[in-house]
Symmetry: C2
Subunit: 490 residues, 2 copies
């Protein structure tokens, strides 16, 4: 192991992920480029892009995966394009020499999406950060991929609109589209799947296509937009995105409500959704998570299962929704429900929610947080969370739970000493049991984090070999050389 950049250890992958080769159409096995091909490519890119191209060790290390437990695997070089045409040129050069390409947004993904297990060129879109157009009448905007969600929302405030998808981190919209991001607001506003109208994409052969249009709906052929949303950079590089926007709600109410058990909180959530309240966010924190938040964010929340809720609507409706939610909570033994409409109180609450990743680390200083997620039908959520808590206790892990429970989606942040192989193995086993539990409940191995490197091994379990073959044949159809983000998803 060598150390490239501060305390970021660089390791070769500990597991061999082999792309499926069950069907004639399966993508080629990923491979490191030959030294000669790499040398030619790097020289050509350096000549064309000057100081927007770098083979600097620390720049490369900064583009390997840093936010989670996955071992960083830096690319061979990083380039910083200004335009789609520049990206197309890089892709054409790489395609000619079979050099892997790894699209890079802000590096806040959690499953090793931006790692370069086979080397190659990381394309960092951070200079492509223009809001190209806002069409307020149409409730749409068009952005370059490097625009972050916070920057977009600052830009939109003056026209009274906002973009709701909020995965916590200030991710780039290109990355959010590529990973089919969602987050706390998804229960009301959907995920990236629901909020991307159109995209511009550079294909693995360097051609530039447009998917979709600014029309709100279309039945004109295969849904390429939805194919590229969530494709994690394995089918092309997203260079422009047209998004649906929403009016900033006239009023917002938010609050917290403790419950005696996780089950009671889940049942109150189901009742809330069914009753048609205008719930925009409904988040569950288990007692351990609340404890960590109290310590990190200097709060005094009751250390028991807690729902954090938010309603969007008119002054009248959010007050009415809050009142009715209080009644529902009471019915399931929860409460008291404290709610507020003042922006500063709400901000404090949601800042604490967004900081759970950092708060979690405080429960066991010196360790890393292995953040994983699953999603199940909401009727099975209480079962899934309770069984998972029992598993955590039995495995003797420290692992708080927080969830977007309105969607049946929850996260476990497992605190782990990544240098301790026995502990890593125990965590591996725990995550496998968590995934199988979710699948047995007709759920999915990931609601929003994506597959990346770490969850590839569950793809066959979730989809079955015939459906996985279809995915592999789509990959081959679009990227026959397997140069786009190889070693991810499949």
């Amino acid at each position: 192991m060598e150390t490239l950049h501060g305390n970021i250890p660089v390791t070769t992958p500990t597991k061999t992920y082999v792309a499926p080769s069950r069907v004639p159409g399966a993508p080629g096995l990923p491979h490191r480029p030959s030294p000669e091909a790499l040398e030619v490519t790097l020289a050509e890119l350096a000549a064309r892009f000057g100081n927007r191209f770098s083979v600097n060790t620390s720049v490369r290390a900064a583009h390997a995966h840093v936010l989670s437990w996955t071992a960083p695997q830096p690319p061979d070089a990083v380039m910083f394009p200004h335009t789609a045409e520049e990206i197309a040129l890089v892709v054409k050069i790489c395609a000619a020499h079979k050099i892997p390409i790894i699209p890079y947004g802000t590096g806040t993904s959690l499953e090793g999406h931006v790692n370069a297990p086979y080397g190659g060129i990381s394309i960092d879109t951070s200079y492509m950060n223009a809001v190209v157009a806002v069409h307020a009448q149409d409730l749409t905007c068009t952005v370059q991929p490097g625009v972050t969600r916070k920057k977009l929302n600052e830009n939109l405030r003056d026209v009274g609109l906002f973009f709701p998808i909020d995965p916590g981190a200030d991710a780039s919209l290109g990355g959010m589209a590529a990973t089919r991001a969602s987050g706390t607001n998804a229960v009301r506003y959907g995920t990236m799947k629901d909020n991307v109208l159109a995209m511009e994409v550079v294909l693995p052969n360097g051609e530039i296509i447009k998917t979709g249009s600014r029309a709100k709906k279309s039945s004109a052929g295969y849904d390429l937009t939805r194919l590229f949303v969530g494709s994690e950079g394995t089918l092309g590089v997203i260079t422009q995105i047209t998004l649906k926007l929403h009016g900033i709600p006239e009023a917002i109410s938010a609050g917290i409500c403790p419950f005696p058990t996780v089950r009671a909180a889940c049942e109150a959530t189901i009742a809330t959704i069914q009753s048609g309240l205008n719930v925009a966010r409904i988040e569950l924190l288990d007692a351990l998570q609340v404890k960590s938040v109290n310590a990190y964010s200097k709060l005094n929340l009751p250390e028991m299962p807690l729902l954090m809720v938010e309603f969007h609507g008119s002054d009248l409706s959010v007050a009415e929704d809050a009142r009715r939610f209080g009644e529902i909570a009471d019915e399931f033994g929860g409460g008291p429900f404290h709610w507020a409409t003042a922006p500063e109180e709400r901000s404090k609450l949601w800042a604490a929610r967004h900081d759970v990743y950092w708060a979690t680390l405080g429960l066991r200083p010196g360790t890393k947080s292995l953040a994983t997620d699953v999603c199940v039908p909401i009727s099975r959520l209480a079962d899934c969370v309770e069984e998972t808590q029992a598993d955590i206790a039995e495995t003797k892990l420290i692992a708080p739970i927080v969830g977007h429970v309105g969607d049946g989606n929850f996260h476990v942040g497992v605190l782990v000493d990544t240098d301790n192989p026995a502990e890593m193995q125990a965590v591996d086993g725990f995550i496998e049991r968590l995934v199988l539990r979710a699948l047995a409940m007709d759920g999915t191995c990931t609601g929003e984090h994506g597959i990346g490197q770490a969850k590839r091994k569950y793809m066959l379990r979730e989809h079955g070999s015939a459906a996985l073959d279809v995915m592999a044949s789509l990959k081959t159809a679009i990227d026959p050389q397997n140069i786009m983000n190889p070693g991810k998803i499949l």
Copy 2:
């Protein structure tokens, strides 16, 4: 021309549609099966399925396209499966002999989707009409493809839930998924794209796959569900569908509001959407369409541009929404807005809206209605409708307009004597101008009717050759023999 069934003329296609062959991966040219292959296949299917298999002339004619102007092209035979396994068997037999397969729901599509230009076997799913499961807590249900939307909603009424997508006709849910149907409620509840969670599909090689799960969201790989939704039977046969459901609103208000001009009605629509009213339906009828509705449904509506609107919510909110809509209408010179919450009044109104297809025919008895649709960003809707009305006047057509204006989607019902070649040519030119107008406004050649046969010629214009090549390569990857509904979309 021979006559097979009553007055349904059977013609060979008047236009040669050639599947794209620009890329190495493009699907093979569709072809009629050889007489020998067909004979063997028909014999094998007859032996296996007995009276659920038919080569009867009138049965075949009834499965060719009958609702619109497209010339019917009957299949060689029709079979009526009970299970996905039976469909898989039929597909395997057909694949072995390269016989085309045409999935059939209720035959209410409008662009020639169920025609059999290259012959083959129509798979009629009407016996597969079971509601497999309703998960009320999860707001989901799972149905066989032959269940119609009205039957599903009857089934759901007792649990207080409903499935909102309403394309007008009592279509089957398999067909609705295959064509990415939407309709009057889409402005609030989205289209089939947004309301299908998971599917079971028989692939062109006879394998059965599941796409998606019952989890409300997932980031686990490529979005196969969205790829099959809207694929018009060209990628596989949908054999089961898991749908999102919604609570029946506590209260509904609906009403009609006349406007001095189409533009005023469109501007009021934009303001209504932007103001965040809980609008579930907002439909525009132009003056000619209102005239036809008055005659057909024996109503007395003011014969000027009219909005029909519906709000869903609580007693309080629908009254408030109706009040605010009245104010908005007034601002744009519209009104008076007459609204009601009584179910019988609302039903009468929406029955009239749903009958516009038949009402339109009354404007020129003896002709056919060529129903076409486009969709544009809502800010361009007034421009698009006004320019289209001017075009209709100039071309001397009788062609009322009705639209799902909240989505920027509108329909033109052109009344045409299909036996008059000059008239058919004029209509062809009109539709081409309509499509190009929508595309120039960053819209789409179809918001909800689909491509089928009739709009294939606009695919290149809308998507460009590189994106169309991607679609062709997806088709080839999944259906290399091009046996699934050949001659459609591509």
